[in-house]
């Protein structure tokens, strides 16, 4: 099965983190990403620019409405994701708990719908 691991944490925490510590976490991310590539779980993943760069768009009655900002103002923000292959939710959760941000924020694990051909 495929699972999307959505990484939510407090952006301000990162912004205010001393550079040395931030670099250490980045290096941890690089190591983690490589490890799930080596183990064959990695299907994709990216870090996102902060929500201050987000733009939201809705179409209502044919009218397009563009607004500045994320979908919802929350205490923790979506900051990145991994798409992983795992045999069941237990395996997916084992991967998710190793994402460095699991220690600071929350990883939401969502199964991906795979359409039958």
């Amino acid at each position: 099965m495929q699972y999307l691991c959505l990484i939510y944490d407090d952006e301000s925490l990162w912004a205010n983190m001393p550079e040395g510590e931030r670099n250490a976490v980045y290096n941890e991310y690089i190591g983690f990403t490589q490890s799930i590539k080596d183990s064959g779980h990695h299907l994709g993943g990216d870090a996102l620019q902060p929500t201050s760069t987000a733009t939201s768009v809705r179409v209502r009655n044919g009218e397009t409405l563009v607004t500045d900002g994320p979908f919802a103002e929350t205490k923790e923000q979506l900051g990145g994701y991994y798409l992983v292959e795992a045999k069941d939710v237990d395996e997916a959760l084992k991967i998710a708990e190793r994402i460095p941000s699991a220690r600071y924020g929350t990883i939401e694990v969502r199964p991906v719908v795979v359409w039958e051909e």
Partner: protein, 398 residues
């Protein structure tokens, strides 16, 4: 066997049959429906044809045949070939063959139903439905929930198992202790949900689930401890309330009315568990419950056991229970000194009630009144309110 062999077989065999069918089908709904139908057939046929030698094997075979019929009727037969092949292998055609030749899958079913990816409410409902065979209306009644709400909860939970890929298996060794703890917590929660009401069937169901666990995991002392704890509590069930539904304290209960069979079994189980030398919270709580079953409660021993429990599971509620035991052992003054050291229970009814009781016994009526009144302000049940009010009436007018 009692007067109704179908009801007996149902309690004994429902969970096992469902788990076997789930393993073969990978489909919780189909498995549950097929087993339910098999019991409906049994209710018609057994009174006429007699009870089969092995009711469990008969149920599994009949459920299997129902499931095969159902799959054959479906238009997507092609995609169902694998399930049909597994079903065909499941049981020999002789209906009287022994069910024990088919691997018991109940342990996998328990761990799936109590998976932490499901909400606690969903875990409870699924466990009762799929392992206990309780109907949705029965579960709804036991939890004072509407039938529609409970039905929806079960549908959602089964959908999540499928869609999120919650595995049907016993967790691997590295995850087992933690997951077993979650399973035991659910069983104990079911027991407690039924404990306050004498007519409630949940406590008996929880004891049955606990026994299933100990038979499937005989090396787990905490599972033994949990069954012992439930039996020892259950043995006092009939004496906890008086005829008007008022609370009767442990020391005032009629010990001759405690259930001797449950006490004996509970004590034997807790001793067997503690001999494994891997103590845990359920074993210690059971040992404490066992200390109450003699002629009089063994308070010094109870204090020591609470010390052990606090080391395993530090919590202000355990501290409170320990303080009450200290009061029984060394007097109200010593107990009160312990209670006054506890932090974090200001919103807990029993904290104020226990404190009030010790103050009353020390003759400090004014302070006792204040503490009882604090307790009354914390949403007591009717029985609790009447108990506290009766204690208040013992105090000198303030």
């Amino acid at each position: 066997m009692s007067r109704d062999p179908v009801a007996d077989a149902f309690r004994e065999e429902f969970g096992r049959a469902v788990s076997i069918l789930i393993r073969a089908l990978g489909d919780f709904d189909l498995a549950q429906d097929a087993v339910q139908e098999a019991f409906a057939v049994a209710a018609e046929r057994w009174p006429l044809d007699g009870v089969p030698t092995s009711p469990g094997a008969w149920i599994v075979t009949t459920a299997r045949n129902r499931a095969i019929d159902r799959l054959r009727r479906e238009r997507t037969l092609e995609t169902r070939r694998a399930e049909l092949a597994r079903l065909a292998e499941l049981a020999p055609d002789e209906e009287d063959d022994d069910v024990s030749t088919i691997p018991d899958e109940r342990l996998a079913l328990i761990f799936t139903c109590c998976h932490p990816a499901l909400s606690v409410d969903a875990q409870v409902a699924l466990t009762l439905r799929l392992l206990g065979g309780l109907t949705t209306p029965q579960i709804a009644r036991a939890f004072l929930t509407g039938e529609a709400t409970m039905a929806q909860r079960l549908v959602r939970a089964k959908h999540k198992i499928r869609a999120a890929g919650i595995p049907f298996r016993v967790p691997p060794d590295d995850a087992l202790p933690e997951r077993l703890e979650a399973v035991l917590a659910i069983v104990y929660l079911i027991f407690n949900a039924g404990y306050s009401d004498v007519r409630n069937e949940l406590s008996a169901e929880a004891i049955r689930l606990g026994r299933t666990l100990t038979s499937l995991m005989p090396d787990e002392p905490e599972a033994l401890g949990l069954v012992a704890l439930m039996l020892l509590h259950d043995s006092r069930r009939g004496t906890r309330l008086d005829d008007e539904g008022g609370i009767v304290l442990l020391e005032d209960q009629d010990r001759s009315r405690w259930n001797g069979v449950e006490i004996e079994e509970g004590r034997a189980l807790v001793e067997a568990a503690l001999r494994r030398r891997r103590p845990g919270r359920y074993q210690l709580q059971a040992a404490i419950a066992a200390c109450h079953t003699g002629e009089a409660s063994d308070w010094p021993q109870i204090v020591l056991l609470y010390d052990g429990l606090l080391r395993l599971q530090p919590s202000p509620v355990v501290e409170l229970n320990r303080a009450v035991a200290v009061a029984m052992h060394r007097g109200p003054e010593a107990g009160l000194a312990e209670i006054d050291l506890i932090e974090g229970l200001d919103g807990y009814l029993y904290f104020h009630a226990a404190r009030a009781d010790l103050l009353r016994r020390l003759g400090r009526d004014g302070e006792a009144r204040g503490a009882y009144e604090r307790a009354l302000g914390l949403q007591p049940s009717d029985a609790e309110r009447r108990f506290i009010e009766s204690r208040l009436s013992l105090l000198s007018p303030g």
